[in-house]
């Protein structure tokens, strides 16, 4: 079970064989643009003082997040982390609700109870992260356990970064998934910097995917700036898990193109590293591929870009119109009520 390094995706035919038609391909592009757009606009809103707290972005990780989420089935579930905005966008969390979340408004998925990208939507199969990374990774393994207990053909996707992968939670989750061959796909977004800590101070194996062998399942390293390669590997892993083949660990290699959060200027990252990875920008890279291989026209591109711009503008307006929470509701929902267990995802 040696770790495998995924090949880049080449032709349109290859992509079609992997299950994507042309409309899907343009949809992926659109989702990547929305992902970056939400974070860029959010950053501006933060600087304008309209978003309290802090602000985390995943610039450089759009292909990885959108690629994996595109490969998930409608009934699959996952626990994305803070650089995985593309997962929320791809699964259908509306950008206006994401802005409302950032702004602490009642229409955000957590209704002002939690902030920034700590969001999810159980009805879309996404469960909100916590700050103690990767605490949600073994929770996702638990979801896979539930599918195995009920013999459902569903898969759980567990995300973490390379920094978070050092914690015991990742080990316990992966070990359990391996022992029970649970339908779980682990995605490590290796963006090479855990806050200011570089990879050589984080782990001593060549690839994080090497660790999969220790848990008795397959590992694969994929170029996280190649959305179609990420999609292909995620789809393989998800379908394998669905068929009872057990977990896969996908290490998706990217660079975090900004600081840990907006307060961090990333002075510790060598400039040439940023320059090198800027040339591999996942959106630009995919745009070129679409023009060269899927004959995306100027008109199509303009239409997508304009549509995304309009969506973001409308989303911010709608989010700003959402009220702030009433302090009288402060204590609501600390405990769940009995009838809440009859919600669709709880049946």
């Amino acid at each position: 079970m040696a770790v495998r390094e995924a090949e880049p995706v080449g032709s349109l035919q290859e992509v079609k064989d992997a299950g994507l038609d042309r409309e899907d391909l343009l949809g992926i592009y659109r989702n990547m643009l929305i992902t970056r757009g939400v974070e860029e606009r959010g950053h501006i809103l933060y600087k304008q003082g309209k978003i309290p707290g802090s602000f985390y972005t995943g610039r450089g990780n759009e292909a990885s997040a959108v690629g994996v989420a595109t490969a998930m089935g409608a009934d699959d579930v996952g626990c994305p982390l803070q650089r995985d905005m593309g997962v929320h966008i791809t699964r259908g969390v509306e950008p206006w609700r994401i802005f409302a979340q950032y702004m602490g408004r009642v229409d955000g998925p957590t209704h002002g109870r939690d902030g920034n990208v700590h969001l999810g939507d159980a009805n879309l199969g996404l469960h909100a992260m916590v700050s103690h990374l990767p605490a949600m990774l073994p929770v996702a393994v638990g979801m896979g356990l539930a599918f195995r207990i009920r013999e459902e053909r569903r898969v759980a996707v567990a995300w973490c970064g390379e920094g978070a992968s050092a914690r015991g939670d990742a080990h316990e989750g992966m070990n359990l998934a391996g022992v029970r061959r649970l339908p779980v796909v682990f995605v490590i977004d290796n963006n090479q910097w855990a806050y200011s800590t570089p990879t050589y101070l984080e782990y001593a194996v060549e690839h994080l995917a090497d660790r999969a062998a220790a848990y008795g399942f397959d590992g694969v390293v994929v170029d996280g700036t190649d959305v179609l390669a990420v999609y292909r590997e995620a789809r393989r892993a998800i379908e394998k898990a669905r068929e009872g083949g057990g977990p896969t660990l996908i290490e998706s290699l990217t660079l975090r193109m900004e600081g840990h959060a907006v307060h961090d200027d990333a002075f510790y990252v060598p400039r040439e590293m940023f320059e090198e990875w800027a040339r591999r920008d996942p959106i630009e890279r995919y745009r070129t591929w679409l023009r060269d291989n899927a004959s995306m026209s100027d008109d199509e591109e303009d239409e997508i870009t304009a549509g995304v711009k309009r969506l973001l503008h409308e989303s911010i307006e709608r989010a700003e119109a959402s009220p702030l929470p009433d302090p009288a509701t402060l204590l609501d929902g600390v405990f769940a009520e009995q009838d809440e267990l009859e919600t669709p995802h709880h049946k």
Binding site: P109, A122, P138, M143, L176, G333, A336
Partner: protein
Amino acid sequence: MPEKTYLQAISDGLRQEMRRDQRVFVLGEDVGVYGGAFKVTLGFQEEFGPWRVIDMPLSETAIVAGATGCALMGLRPVAEMQFADFVSCAWDHLVTVAAKQRYRAGTPIPIVLRLPSGGGFSGGPFHSQNPESTFAHIPGLKIVCPATPEDAKGLLVSAIEDPNPVLFFEHKHLYRRIKGEVPDERYATPLGKARVHRPGDDVTVVTWGAMVYTAQSAAEKLEADGVSVEVLDLRTLIPWDREAVLASARRTSKVLVLHEDTKTGGFGAEIAATIAEEAFEHLDGPVRRIAAPDAPVPFSPPLEKAYIPQVDDVVAGLRALAAY
């Protein structure tokens, strides 16, 4: 009504719920063939199979987090910690994920964590703790500490039905020592309702778990002095029955809070402070606390005996309070 041990009552309640509701299942270390460290789930795997009685790796985080994930997908996990002490390894998951999930993300986490707790058998510093107050401080968790076999079954049923994470502290010292009548049929004992274990008029002892029996023995000795002691068994700490405690305090005017957990920051402090805030004018003496001293639970029998509140300690405390 059949007589059952405290342990049998827990086992019966759990089995009954698993038969009744397909969503209920158990997971933990050695809970399968071995039946759990204390044999609560003995024979369960034969009846329910390996995917409803799940032997887990030695991974408390994976047990609690895994249960949380299962709960999010609609199952009703009952997770066992081999000893309550080991919940420290899963503290993060209880406190960071399970306790806050409903509040911040809107998704209930109906899990029960069974926690064999308490000392009295030379288990030493890592097998004898009563870490209930640690969790009582965390909004979003419920805490149950049954004292009788009847309550152990009825409260477990309520804990499993409850849509929140519930910590079910089973006192190991009671497992095979305490017997009582337990109805065969299904019944649920509501969380948050105290029980008068022994009625009395002069002094109230508020307590729970194994200390209920220590309080009872002390109350019997005080009876010879002509002092009538009421023993109020709290049964659940979160939610706790403030009304019952305050009503008893107002009636007897003197309260002693007794627990096996250490004193500083123990749950007794919360009870004493509440009585001081809400019933001060009804008191004829200070609210006293008897608890373990602020030390790890020691191993050697004389040390452990000095650590765990004894009947004589309670008798002395009650006499002092009665004479105040």
